[in-house]
Symmetry: none
Subunit: 204 residues, 4 copies
Amino acid sequence: MKQRLTRQESRLETRTRLLDSAAQLFARGGYEGASVDLIAESAGYSKGAFYSNFESKEAIFLELLDAHKRREIEALAQLLAQDIPAPELLSQIRNSETIRGSDFDFGLLSAEFQLQACRDKSFAKTYAKLHRTHRDTMAGLVTKLFAKLDRKPPSDPKDLADIIMALTTGLSLQGTSMQGPLRKGFVTEAILLVLGIEPIEGDR
Amino acid sequence: MKQRLTRQESRLETRTRLLDSAAQLFARGGYEGASVDLIAESAGYSKGAFYSNFESKEAIFLELLDAHKRREIEALAQLLAQDIPAPELLSQIRNSETIRGSDFDFGLLSAEFQLQACRDKSFAKTYAKLHRTHRDTMAGLVTKLFAKLDRKPPSDPKDLADIIMALTTGLSLQGTSMQGPLRKGFVTEAILLVLGIEPIEGDR
Amino acid sequence: MKQRLTRQESRLETRTRLLDSAAQLFARGGYEGASVDLIAESAGYSKGAFYSNFESKEAIFLELLDAHKRREIEALAQLLAQDIPAPELLSQIRNSETIRGSDFDFGLLSAEFQLQACRDKSFAKTYAKLHRTHRDTMAGLVTKLFAKLDRKPPSDPKDLADIIMALTTGLSLQGTSMQGPLRKGFVTEAILLVLGIEPIEGDR
Amino acid sequence: MKQRLTRQESRLETRTRLLDSAAQLFARGGYEGASVDLIAESAGYSKGAFYSNFESKEAIFLELLDAHKRREIEALAQLLAQDIPAPELLSQIRNSETIRGSDFDFGLLSAEFQLQACRDKSFAKTYAKLHRTHRDTMAGLVTKLFAKLDRKPPSDPKDLADIIMALTTGLSLQGTSMQGPLRKGFVTEAILLVLGIEPIEGDR
DNA sequence: CATGAATGAGTATTCATTCAT
DNA sequence: TATGAATGAATACTCATTCAT
């Protein structure tokens, strides 16, 4: 019969809870709006626990950024790996972007990251690297997509990737700052517009 | 012989200087990054002067937001009023969005506004109203543009307007958080892509 | 009839009180032992008042050090300027060293300064400069004293000055760490011993 | 065949290593400057090991103080026990005080002890007792020295002992807070000055 | 005995805001 | 109206200590 949590497991659980709390709070209140105290408390721990798991507030923020970007890249890479027809691929792009909109908004978090990167050199460096990786993966996706459609991309795939990412962040920011969430499928529609692809019937 | 400034004029000058300083500082360091002290000092006044002219830090931020959006709307309205050929109209869209990139970045400020609006109900309300006006004006522009080109817009002009605005903010954020400014004309190119219009020769 | 304190006077008073509190608390509890909170509170002000008057804890410490050393140097300089017979000069040396032993101990403060200087480069630099000035003034005193006594100093006056200062600090540290204050006149006696001068009758 | 360390030996080794680390760190950074974590880590153990061996940070500091003073007393006692000529005895006094200046500075540690004793009653008591023993031993040395030189001490040997000890600490503090170490032989020279003994040729 | 995760009180410092001048 | 001294709550971070493993 299984004992209580081992030390490793317990530490991992603490880390995870802190990361979850932090993600929510950063998304809701921004980098400045989420205090270490609040993060720790809302995860059910003391400030000390926070600092025994993360070097600083910046560190947890960066770790979150990293994890977020990795997850997106991962999702895109999986899409690329599949061998499915174009229309289905199209319908999946949306999901890779707007996943997990349930308890907190990744788009907002992303905007927050970028805003912070504008102001902090070391943030900027880390961010730039991740962004580049992400962008390249997405450019690959775009290339593949157009190959499947047997058409030529309307612009350099890397630029298209940049535009798609900017659009995602921008719409997310806009949607949240306005009222509720964006009209379902709006982001996809916008992306297809950029790519010059007719929206698939029934997707609107 | 010219008198000294009247009291009214003097007050206006103080306000104006404070607003200018605040705009620059908010753009550079974000809402939290610009302290009242700094704003006042960099305008050549004391904290007291600030509080004589504005009720709070939030108030000046809101006023700035208002002025910024109004200026954009105004610029767009003027574009609409002109009777110029389509190509020239196109080349002016960019400028209406990214003007004054010299000493501070409106795109960033806009992102900051939206982020702040996500977190503050009363901000959000003010922002939503302004955004709607702005969007509608831009939608009008889009409609007119397509009329001139004698083509059908690829989507609801209001949606296109939303997308253009999101794109502008998103690219601005992306550009600043990465390295230097965006490739010249990149924003325009992206907007034309969205609208399904071929980039004009020589604009790239 | 005099009004309330002017702003300048009021500010000065605050500064003075804060400096006094800090001096006492540093002497009693060391650099680390005196918190900014405590300093401010014991002076009857808020933490904010402290920071509106001093840039940092280090700053007030350094200012105290400076003032303390200046006062000592001043006192010695005045002794030098007088035209009094040797015996009286001798009897005054003590007082110049142990002044104001009433509410807090400068010797301790001095030891604290030096200890801190051992650990902080910028402290060390400031301290070294002050020490050198102080030492040179005291060396001048020693030279003059021996001239009056018509004798040759037993060693280089600068070395003698260093020794006298070390002795003062060391004895002060010793005296305080043991029980009560040192036996009256003990420091003088020690100094005269170093200088090879017989203690004057009645001084013991 | 040699066994592994017995439990006792292993415990002793842990204690010893912790004490060594602590001595170095206290000397370098002061009482506050050396954290339990650092002490343990730099000895190659965890915080837990520290608290298995010492009741508290204060306890290890006190134990260090005790050991340090005991070692000095022991060294002096051995000097006393020897039957060597005066000049050689003189040259050995220095070493008994300033030994082990290699990897960390006892003079500084001593100042730190005294400063701490000023602030903590129980520290003060322990310190006073040790100091008295030390002083008396040194006073014995002084007496013996003058007997050998066939001269009368210039003052009460106990006072002379106090002065020598204060001088040592004071010069050590001064030397470290200034730039590099003291001029070689300076402490000895100073002590001889206090005792009214001409520096031996070649010692300078 | 040793580990190291977690605690929680403590530290220096910042900053929007107030108010007597 | 403008000043700037003072407030006090908030913030990121440190560290001696405890205790389940």
